[in-house]
């Protein structure tokens, strides 16, 4: 499912729509969001390289890790110096101060941006770099920001929101993704950032820490394994919830799916004392029940209670005519038949 998220980012935005945006958030108990970020980054990079994605370049705004980390990562992922011109790492760490960048400016696709507090300048810098990569045509590019948490240290939420929504609505931006450490911000900030993204991937602990329990071993376990919960808002407004397990291994991260029943039970069904799911036997039993409107064909043989008592002798007979749409739908299903329409 992490892959399907990458595909959504790969497919990018339609004309006149906001670009899809992914928030990757975690907390200190499961600090694995960087692994997810790297995974998305390398997946998107390979799509870009293969020419499969809408975007034909990428701008990385590096605030947490130094650009050389990304250059190394992309290099080790098989992206050599020749194609490095499709990436641009925007280092953003020096605040209006003089000559202390250890990165030489504009070598191997790294540009140093010095004025962090001025997000309008950052916006135009990102666009300029992006256009520099993909040219002046109609090609689009995608943007990675690590991390929004760092930006929020210096600017108020309102300006950050302005930056993100401006980027999302720009015609040359295909998709965005960014990192958020949720426990550093208050709830409203987290919510605001999540509202601005079409996909939220949150890294959560697989087991809950009980009070009084010593959580050391749990913490250790969380460094290797966690649950990735995704909330994906589709174009038609429908929301899909998915969960996956992340495993951190020597070679990188791998994702395994949690069985769907379990994940549905965990995400959708509220905590109730009665059972909302049917067992197999119960479903079988239910399918055998003849519903009232299905008596009609056997009407001749069976007399209703009303007829028995003789009350309907002279009155005209009422009838309910029901034609079932399809056989695969259960007779008492309350599913909306027009659900699949894209309105």
């Amino acid at each position: 499912m992490a892959e399907s998220t990458c595909r959504v980012l790969r497919d990018g935005a339609l004309e006149g729509e906001l670009a899809p945006a992914l928030t990757i958030k975690d907390s200190i108990l499961t600090p694995l969001s960087f692994h997810v970020f790297d995974y998305v980054l390398s997946q998107l990079s390979s799509y870009v390289l293969a020419g499969k994605s809408q975007s034909s370049g990428m701008v990385i705004v590096a605030l947490t890790r130094s650009p050389s980390y990304y250059v190394n990562m992309l290099n080790s992922g098989g992206i050599d110096g020749v194609s490095m011109d499709k990436w641009h790492v925007l280092l953003q760490k020096l605040k209006g101060c003089g000559q202390i960048g250890s990165c030489p400016d504009s070598s191997s696709g790294v540009t140093v941006f010095r004025d962090v507090r001025n997000l309008e300048k950052l916006f135009s810098a990102v666009l300029e770099l992006g256009k520099g990569i993909v040219g002046q045509g109609k090609d689009r590019f995608c943007i990675a920001i690590d991390s929004v948490t760092e930006l929020l240290r210096d600017v108020p939420l309102s300006s950050l929101a302005g930056l993100l929504s401006n980027l999302r609505s720009h015609e040359r931006v295909s998709s965005l993704f960014w990192l958020l450490h949720s426990d550093i911000h208050n709830t409203s900030t987290n919510a605001a950032v999540e509202y601005m993204s079409s996909i939220v991937a949150s890294v959560e602990s697989t087991a809950q820490l009980k009070s009084g329990q010593q959580g050391l071993f749990l913490l250790e376990q969380n460094l290797r394994k966690a649950k990735l919960r995704m909330r994906l808002k589709r174009r038609n407004g429908r929301v899909r919830l998915m969960s996956e397990e992340i495993h951190v291994e020597q070679s990188g991260v791998t994702f395994t799916s949690i069985s769907s029943e379990e994940s549905v039970a965990q995400t959708l069904v509220p905590k109730v004392h009665f059972n909302l799911q049917l067992s197999e036997k119960e479903q079988l039993d239910r399918s055998k029940v003849v519903l009232p409107f299905e008596h009609q064909e056997e009407q001749n043989g069976v007399a209703t209670e009303a007829e028995k008592s003789g009350m309907t002798e002279n009155s005209s007979r009422g009838e309910i005519i029901y034609l079932r749409d399809s056989d695969d739908e259960r007779p008492d299903s309350d599913e909306d038949p027009d659900d699949d329409l894209d309105i």
Partner: protein, 276 residues
């Protein structure tokens, strides 16, 4: 005879062997960032001394850039001499760079200057030392940057955590630029009273090895000073190009005898190992 490698080495990912002659094996893994959190009752400065000793051991080629805000050179010199390491000689060998920052933010020159560039100037000095050291030795060797301690950087920055964290971030970039490792000592309990514990959280996100020194949860004991919790998140090693998973988590007790030499961590629940 000292054991070749102890539990703390193991947890930090230091491979130390007295008998082996291989060089640069006894320093921290490249690119690692170690955050040491201690509190008033249990000081963890001995971890810094231990890392110093390992990094400057004769069969290693790594060097140390030391930023001291809490003690003068003579303090460390005395302690390390007891541990069998001559800091003054190492300083002359240009393997130990000592920045005496006791007066940071106090002198008239740096007063008022600290926001606009005092810390940035300091960063420039560190960067220059590293570049010099790298260029003189030819091949890039492992350099450990030690910051003792971070809370005093905050004091020097007039209590602005944001500025101090910026400084830390600049230093952090050196870990991937030059393959240095970064060791920071900070006090956990000074952030306890704040409404949210975000300052310490932001530093914990940065670190890939987190060491916490706390008093024993069971109370005071005559020999045992406290316990260390080491959380090694693993580092990305450029040279090996793979994720290096160290120990996930270890719990130790340590004892402070009369001599610093007696500081030997051991696993909790193994009391016989506490005395050396």
């Amino acid at each position: 005879m000292e054991r070749s490698s102890n539990l703390l080495d193991e947890a930090l990912g230091i491979i130390y062997d007295n008998s082996s002659l291989s060089s640069s094996s006894s320093s921290l893994p490249n690119g690692s960032c170690v955050l040491i959190e201690d509190c008033v009752e249990t000081s963890a400065s001995f971890v810094i001394h231990h890392i110093l000793k390992r990094s400057l051991s004769p069969n290693s080629s790594s060097s140390v850039v030391f930023l001291s805000l809490s003690h003068p050179f003579s303090h460390y010199d005395r302690i390390l001499r007891k541990l069998g390491c001559n800091l003054a000689a190492q300083r002359d060998n240009r393997r130990f760079f000592f920045f005496d920052m006791l007066m940071l933010g106090c002198t008239e020159q740096s007063l008022g200057n600290i926001h606009s560039g005092g810390l940035i100037e300091l960063y420039g000095k560190i960067q220059k030392a590293i570049e010099d050291s790298n260029s003189s030795s030819g091949n890039s060797k492992c350099i450990t940057i030690v910051l003792d301690d971070f809370s005093l950087i905050e004091v020097a920055a007039k209590g602005s955590f944001n500025h101090s964290l910026d400084f830390l971030r600049y230093c952090y970039t050196l870990t991937s630029e030059f393959g240095c490792s970064l060791v920071i000592l900070n006090h956990e309990d000074i952030y306890l009273e704040e409404e949210s514990a975000t300052p310490i959280l932001q530093m914990e996100y940065l670190a890939n090895i987190l060491i916490k020194a706390e008093p024993l949860s069971t109370g005071l004991a005559a020999d045992v000073h406290g316990q260390l919790t080491v959380l090694n998140k693993g580092t990305y090693d450029k040279t090996r190009n793979s994720m290096n998973k160290g120990l996930g988590l270890e719990e130790r007790a340590w004892s402070h005898g009369q001599l610093m030499r007696n500081v030997v961590p051991s696993r909790l629940g193994v009391p016989s190992m506490l005395r050396v």
